[in-house]
Amino acid sequence: MDKRLILSVAGSGKTRYIIDYTDEERRFLILTYTINNVANIRSRVAAKYGCIPKNIEIYSYFSFLYSFCFKPFLLNAVGAKGIDFKGMAHFKAVGDARYFDRFRRIYSYRLAKVLEVNGVIDAVKARIEKYFDAVLIDEVQDFGGNDFAFLERIVACTVDLVLVGDFFQHTYDTSRDGNVNKNLHADLAGYLARFEAAGVIVDPDTLGNSYRCSKSVCAFIRETMGVAIDTHRDDETRIEYVDRDDGIRELLGSGATIKLFYENGKTYPLNSKNWGDSKGEDHHQDVCVVLNKNTDKFYREGRLAELPPRTKNKLYVAITRTRNDLYLVPESKVRKLLAG
């Protein structure tokens, strides 16, 4: 049984790796987190085979949990009317209210827990083993809380299991639930140790080099942020900290250059979004990363590596969007210019 966690740096061809891993013989389950990713993988699979072959099933993670794991065993027995992605149970809730909202939708962050408390995890494992030969999980770094616990159980299935993810792109948790796996992402070594303890081999090499980011960008990330990333490319690209008004004005006026903000990206004009929301995007040429006050300070002091993990990871996501040049811009200047 192949049980691997492949650490994939940004732009290293993670999706391509997943698609290449499939064939027309074995039965594959591909899980990914976002609907966008599902669509992306689906179209890449269709491009490879001319259609979605019957032996490859692609699910978004929660629809997999609900449709493939919950419903077959518990729909009639327990009953549910779908998933509540936003709500959370009151911390004093008892009984069913811990798992269901008032429309009897299951709280997404506790969906995996519902499987466990109803004792169907083994049945779910058997079902996965019965219908699939290989399970591929994308963006595995975002598994948290109950979902990570579920993942640890699923590892024991007698199927090939390939987990792909980038610890440093962990910007989000599928499940956050009190103390359940609260410190999972505290540091890389501890995180990897959890996988190794579950019998998963950690592979940092296969997807350790980026196709997207240039030699210069990767060096910049290694040196300033302390994140291990290398590249297949050997060209140099421009990295520039821009704080002059005319320079910033030019960047803001360029529709072609995406501006990535720490937050509220959508409120800024012309091709702007948040660092975290750019995750998974692969089509940007030049990228302008707007540094919020704190990050700007850390940058100027040469201490980006010491940023709080979540901020650091989002920044890493934003920086690694660039295929060409990288511009760093202080947010305070941007605001001042737009206000004036």
Binding site: S67, F68, K71, P72, F73, L74, L75, N76, A77, A123, R127, K130, Y131
Partner: protein, 522 residues
Amino acid sequence: MKYITRVKLKNFKRFTEIQVPLQEKLNIIIGENESGKSTILSAISLVLGGNRGQIEKIGYERLLNHGVVSAFLESERRYEDLPKAYVELWFNDFGEHELDGRNNSEGVDGHGLKMEFCPNDEFGPTIRQILQGAERNFPFEFYQVRFYTFQGDAYSGYKKYVRHIVIDTSQIGNDYAVREYVGDMYDTYAEPLEKVVHQNEYRKLKEGFGLNVMKDLNERAEKYSFALKSDSKSNIRTDLTLIEESIGIENKGKGRQCFIKTEFALKRAEGVRQKIDVALIEEPENHLSHLNMKRLVGMIAAADDKQLIIATHSNMISSRLDLRNTIYMHSADRNPILLTDLPDDTAEFFIKAPYHGILDYVLSKKVILVEGDSEYILMAKFYEMVKGHSMDTDQVHVFSVGGTSFKRYLDVANLLGIKTAVVRDNDTDYQRNCVELYEDYNADHIKVFSDQDNGRSTFEKCLYQDNEAVCTEWFAAGRKTLTVQEYMLKNKAESALEILRRMQDGFAVPQYIREAIEWISG
């Protein structure tokens, strides 16, 4: 092979609760009229069809069990007690996880589809109001149908987990049924893409007809123009027919239609693109001559690449296709009996034996089995003489076995619990022929009757010895070499007919036959 392993019905039509196990290939459902044979077939077809419109067209009033509805109306009429009905089809495991789950009546792992009728909770308050009304009104209009897989997903007819076809010979001549049939067969042969191309080309053809062929006409019509319709009621599917030797199927004789339909659906063909998994055939014997029946039986026997579920009244179909494939529906609301356990040699006997009414036997409750024609001819009269009324009154039937193969019938009686009196000759050895031979059949419902005097070895001898005077009177005239008893033995059927014709008071019914009649009527 994809096949149905069992059908479960709850509160559906005439059944409150029933389960019908099915075999992988051939299933022959037999039963009296109104025993629910067609209900089983239509239940299967409705579930596989997954068509809400079809359900609503039939109406919940006709789908929900009447008894359950009346019982509800008699009760306190509480909303939560409103009856639900369902039909579940359980399949073999053919690796489709969408069918796999515990969302079934037993809550256990299984592969299947479920059709459920239940009140629509959205109308809860209105329904409650209706129920509280003074009038005893059942809220059929507020019922809804749900189709879902055991995994818990809703499905509709577009999702063909299992492909099926219905061949209902009672619907022969019905335009709709012909269209459905032709459409189904078209689906099995045509590739999905091919169908789209056909649809498109056909529409263009019609448009072209309006534009080109009717050009002159339309110019005269000026402001308006004539054209061919192209919509849901007139399209390639509605206009399709099946041609054999340049005659459309709907214009063939009924018998031929039946035959073509079955043959076309059953045959294994190279051209088929979407194989039919389950064929539901209702009374295939309708409109068929004896010869065509034999051919039909041959076709059915050869169709081993799909599951066949056949409802029939035909002795020939049920026995020639091996009684072990038979599912016997009671008239009562009970699980059917399978003849799967019939001994091999007995099943083999009924496949090979000359004409017999085995199906009629199976459907009977009380039976007198006799050896031959003469007993058969006289038994009804004897019954009347002993009981003072006819056998039909007591629902007793007589079957002539045509020899002494009683055991074959008793094997069937054993499975079905048919009360059977065997009336036979002792053939000069009562102990061996009438006692020891049947030791294995000492059931309460099976009994062998024969004269215990080895001298009285045949029916005719008993008749003669018990009625010497009248027999001599009736048969002595003209006898030169044979004695009366010898004559009767040599001309069994003729003398039985003569006795029946001249029967008079005081004629003595042999004691063992009298006992058989008393026992069977009891």
